[in-house]
């Protein structure tokens, strides 16, 4: 009995409720005529699509910069990479890698500036990160219209300039990573091996990095800045590094997302993209001050599972699409829970 109580306390009520909710959806699915294998397939695909962006939260949380609501900044770097690779008409795996290669330096530069900014505003990082994300997306809206891209696959047909709101990458590199070593189990269930391997590789690298000297220093900066200062760690440098890392992962994350999704979404597309990632890592058990790779994996499965299952199952049950509303309530409720709980622990 005591063990159960401890377990509940460790995991936290919201997480248990969400896990139970997801489980009941999976149990209900066959009864309301939703194919279980198709649902599992969708969950797996979406897990792979979104995993990297959730992983991007880890370094900044660990270094005490809070949840990275400024993820759109990294996403923009990724979009620039993706759009440029389409412009260059590179296809297949090379296409995706080119996109990542182009996105990386942009993400590093943007992340570095963003990190310097966040160092100046210690204590209110999250609010400012949100608005840095928003304003950069709005600025890029103008840039997408103005930048000199010429490829007829991407610009508006009649004007001959200005990028379209959604650009298909199907002819270039859709599923270029997902399809590596992918195999089908049956008609509805396929396993995107390549995407998972890539995600796990990044997870492993991140986990290794967190164990290195620099990674440990980063964690110390987050958990006890005074101690870090006393042991000679350069706080600002560590924080900037974590922000650069997070922004870069955001860029890689969105390219992973696009290669699976098949479309590049520009303009207001990335506007709210930080919120699902933030919600996912929090559902996985992270707090505003602490996050681990396990949190990322558990959280992404739970959150994306709910996003996949609610439309199909609830739709079949009550003939209405409530998934959007449920998504808003669950994701923001989770963020709210994390924000209000962290102070309680501190005081």
């Amino acid at each position: 009995m005591k063990d159960i109580k401890n377990f509940i306390e460790d995991v936290g009520w919201p997480r248990i409720l969400i896990a139970l909710f997801l489980l009941s959806l999976f149990v209900l699915a066959p009864f309301v005529g939703v194919r279980l294998d198709a649902s599992i397939n969708d969950t797996l695909v979406r897990f792979g699509m979104n995993g990297v962006m959730v992983l991007a939260m880890v370094p900044m949380v660990q270094s005490g910069c809070g949840l990275n609501f400024g993820l759109p900044l990294g996403i923009i770097a990724g979009l620039l990479g993706a759009v440029t690779s389409v412009e260059l008409e590179v296809t297949g795996l090379t296409g995706v890698l080119t996109a990542m290669l182009i996105a990386s330096p942009i993400a590093v530069i943007l992340g570095w500036c963003y990190g310097l900014l966040l160092n100046k505003v210690k204590g209110s990082e999250m609010m400012i990160a949100t608005y840095v994300g928003f304003s950069s997306v709005a600025l890029m809206c103008i840039m997408w219209l103005v930048l000199p891209y010429k490829s007829p696959n991407m610009v508006w047909g009649y004007a001959g300039k200005g990028l379209r709101t959604t650009i298909s990458v199907e002819a270039f590199w859709q599923n270029a990573i997902s399809s590596i070593g992918a195999f089908r189990i049956n008609e509805f269930l396929a396993f995107p091996t390549g995407m998972f391997l890539f995600f796990l590789l990044l997870c492993a690298l991140m986990s290794l990095f967190m164990r290195t000297r620099t990674g440990t220093a980063m964690t110390i900066v987050g958990s006890n800045p005074d101690y870090a200062r006393a042991s000679g760690v350069n706080i600002d440098k560590m924080r900037t590094l974590s922000v650069v890392l997070s922004t870069w992962m955001g860029a890689i994350g969105i390219i992973m997302y696009e290669q699976c999704f098949g479309f590049v979404q520009l303009y207001m597309g990335p506007f709210y993209m930080a919120f699902p990632a933030v919600a996912a890592i929090l559902i996985g058990g992270a707090s505003v001050k602490k996050a681990s790779i396990a949190n990322v994996i558990v959280g992404t499965i739970l959150f994306q599972g709910i996003l996949t299952m609610t439309p199909s199952v609830i739709n079949s049950m009550i003939q209405t699409d409530m998934s959007e509303v449920i998504r808003i309530i669950v994701s923001n409720g989770m963020i709210l829970y994390a924000l209000t709980r962290a102070t309680k622990v501190r005081s």
């Binding site: 609501f69 900014l117 100046k120 505003v121 210690k122 204590g123 209110s124 999250m126 609010m127 400012i128 949100t130 608005y131 840095v132 928003f134 304003s135 709005a138 600025l139 809206c141 103008i142 219209l145 103005v146 200005g162 706080i235 600002d236 919120f275 209405t320 409530m322 959007e324 509303v325 808003i328 309530i329 923001n332 409720g333 963020i335 709210l336 924000l339 209000t340 709980r341 962290a342 102070t343 309680k344």
Partner: protein, 369 residues
């Protein structure tokens, strides 16, 4: 020396409004709007938005930053308007009834918001922001699924064709401009919504009076320093909740005034825009996260909306593409909030570093090195 210093301080303090003034001054001739049109437009927008922006003042006084939770008040106001549209109550009566219905809801929402923010001391702004999103989900759940099924709605014009849930846009013809046109006045062909300005004027007086009351003083003390206020016997947490409740209720009235002027309501969008635009206006007026006056409100509304009206046309004539001006407008609203937040946090951070350095008995600039 002292004078140049003062000038520099003035410029730094008012950097945001000055930048706005300069940009507008350049953009107005380019946009080719007539002066008459602009004055009329500014008057309308002043009457429409001032009340919403004024509702932000009280929480700033209590040191809780910009109340992004004012969205909750706007939601309450819209719920009130949905009911009076359903019952088809016309004119000023309808408006007042909407306010009466919405008040208890707004108080309740405000109380929730206050309690939540008390649990997240030190990060009120981001929490109230997320709370706005969260309550938006709850609002959608109620209005999209509850109204017409659990809550009875008789007017079929309001309900979606599937039988429940409110339509995306509601026509508020029955209360359209009822407050604005209560006392008609026209000078040189420019209509002035006198009654609305009287309401706003009363509200400004209320704020001035409120600052002098015991509660107002308590709030200012709480805003200055919570532990000190606490040891002085001020019920800090309660005071903070009250400040948020007041702000939410006022935002609710503000939204009703706003919508009676606009005349149509986007059931699922109007409240979200209210928050962003009100906060951007206040910051453009030279207010900061910790200091805002009534003057900031009016300057802010005029400057922000001047930009808002002028920039799409200016952008169109400059670049030949109307869309760029449109996006520029969005960029400005978000950019200005980021800029103001960064400036404020920056200053606070610098103050803290200086204080810390002095505490350690070093030079003020020896901070982190």
């Amino acid at each position: 020396m002292n004078n140049t210093n003062k000038l520099r301080m003035f410029l730094i303090r008012n950097a945001v409004p000055i930048v706005f003034l300069v940009v507008s001054a350049i953009a107005i001739p380019i946009s080719r709007f007539s002066l008459d049109y602009l004055i009329q437009e500014m008057l309308i927008r002043l009457s429409r938005n001032s009340f919403l922006v004024l509702s932000l003042l009280v929480p700033i006084m209590a040191g809780m930053g910009l109340n992004f939770g004012m969205v909750l008040g706007a939601m309450a106001g819209q719920l009130g308007l949905i009911f009076i549209s359903d019952w088809n109550i016309v004119g000023l009566n309808g408006m007042v009834l909407a306010a009466i219905i919405a008040t208890p809801l707004a108080i309740f929402f405000g109380w929730i918001c206050g309690v939540v923010l008390n649990k997240a001391r030190g990060r009120e702004m981001v929490t109230s922001y997320i709370l706005g999103f969260f309550m938006n989900g709850v609002y959608q759940l109620a209005v999209l699924y509850g109204f017409g099924s659990i809550v009875p709605i008789t007017n079929s014009k309001l309900v979606l064709s599937r039988g429940y849930g409110i339509r995306n846009t509601i026509n508020l013809d029955n209360i359209r401009r009822c407050l604005d046109d209560l006392i008609p006045l026209e000078i040189f062909g420019i209509q002035i919504p006198v009654a609305t300005f009287i309401v706003i004027g009363f509200f400004c007086l209320f704020i001035v009076w409120f600052r002098k009351t015991k509660l107002g003083q308590d709030m200012r003390a709480t805003g200055q320093d919570m532990p000190v206020a606490d040891s002085a016997g001020i019920p800090v947490l309660r005071t903070r909740v009250i400040s948020i409740v007041i702000s939410t209720v006022l935002a609710c009235y503000g939204q009703i005034i706003f919508l009676q002027n606009v005349g149509t309501m986007n059931t699922y969008n109007s409240h979200e825009q209210a928050g962003v635009f009100a906060i951007a206006s206040l910051l453009v007026g030279g207010a900061s996260v910790s200091r805002a006056s009534i003057l900031n409100v009016f300057i802010g509304v005029i400057l922000f909306h001047l930009m808002f009206v002028v920039s799409p046309m200016a952008g169109k004539y400059l670049t030949g593409d109307a869309q760029i001006g449109e996006f520029f407008r969005v960029f400005v609203s978000y950019g200005i909030i980021s800029l103001a937040l960064v400036l404020h946090a920056w200053r606070r951070h610098a103050d803290r570093e200086i204080a810390r350095a002095q505490f350690r008995g070093q030079n003020a600039d020896g901070g982190t090195k």
